[in-house]
């Protein structure tokens, strides 16, 4: 990765997804120990960071669904050498993007009024939750993506094979599929 020999820095990011891709990543099981020896894990959804660190490889789970995702992925892109869309939500929008068939107002009304047991009102983005974007977008519609690993979720084997290829400097297209 660098001329100074150091372990490549790996981060993972969680946008609008169900965390299934991260679970699949954790399903690497004992292979995680081997991987931990080969990379330096910098940031993940469970590490506490104020600023996203400079990273060699970042795996992104989830679609870009709200303002926070949008701002975050822009910073992540700037600080990442190789950005990877991990899983169908990041790659296609997937289930997260199914609301795109309807207007945002209709979706919010349905969720917070029509079907709510207690109607408090529709969150307006000023408080605790970030404002939703009008349209959910796959990551590559927002920033440049270097590699794609489709699947819902991609299997642990697929993630492992992909990372090993990448770490060993090969970028042969691996056969994945949507769904």
């Amino acid at each position: 990765m660098d001329r100074v020999s150091r372990r490549p820095r790996l981060s993972t990011v969680w946008l609008g997804g169900c965390s299934g891709c991260h679970m699949s990543f954790l399903d690497l099981d004992e292979r995680l120990i081997d991987l931990a020896g080969r990379v330096e894990l910098c940031a993940s959804p469970i590490t506490d960071y104020k600023e996203f660190p400079e990273t060699d490889i970042t795996l992104v789970e989830g679609a870009v669904a709200n303002l926070e995702h949008l701002e975050h992925i822009r910073v992540v892109r700037k600080r990442t050498k190789i950005l990877v869309s991990l899983g169908d939500c990041a790659v296609t929008g997937n289930v997260t993007a199914m609301r795109n068939m309807y207007g945002l107002e209709d979706v919010l009304t349905r969720a917070y009024r029509d079907t709510a047991a207690v109607v408090i009102g529709i969150p307006n983005g000023n408080g605790a939750v970030p404002r939703l974007l009008e349209r959910v977008r796959p990551v590559h519609e927002v920033v440049k993506v270097d590699h794609f690993l489709p699947g819902c979720p991609p299997s642990a084997d697929a993630i492992h094979a992909f990372l090993i290829e990448l770490l060993e400097g090969r970028t042969t297209a691996l056969q994945g599929r949507f769904g």
């Binding site: 796959p138 590559h140 994945g176 949507f178």
Partner: protein, 238 residues
Amino acid sequence: MSVKTLEIDGKMVTGMAGETIFSVAWEHGIHIPRLCHIGGISDVGACRLCMVEVEGQRKLQAACLTQIEEGMVVRTDTPRLKAHRKLIVELLMAERNHICAVCVANGACELQELARSMGIDHVRLRYRFPVFPVDTSNERFGMDHNRCVLCTRCVRVCDEVEGAHTWDVFGRGAGSRIISDLGEPWGASESCTGCGKCVQVCPTGALFDKGKTVAEMRKDRGFLKYIVTAREKKQWIG
């Protein structure tokens, strides 16, 4: 009938006059991608995935519609053809709402498999997210227009094999839609016999058996060969 000799991908092959490039190629182990073609019913050239290059012709030809000719030189797998096919599959994916993860046909869908076999790991075009209905009025089957690729296999099998002609195509361009009878819900169709042939030939998760959930729908196309052989050879063999 006369025999014709031609070259496909550098291989000398023979076929009968009247046969298409597509079927002669398949008989010789050259598998041209396809979506609207299915053996046993007529061809319409709707999907353009089977396009090939024929030497001496500027335009690409749909292999499923083009008859073989003596001395023809055909190429089925050039970089140009591959690029076109890839784009067609991406266009189909972007045109309607293909959410494979929650689709009945996940893992057994011809469109999904085409994407995989072509190494499509993302769609370069913007998804349209159109609004399309799901018709669940039929007692046993469902029709999800979000997953329809307008191949018209359902239209042709219902007309040519079942003889009911329940389905047809309504509208134009991206707004086209498969309709039953004169646009009534499928369940209200008077012509449909409920045979299920359309469901079995549909390449995607658009037509499915009710009660099937994610990745449970598997299609059985055996009947088509059985019926067509019976018609042509007067023998009931599979």
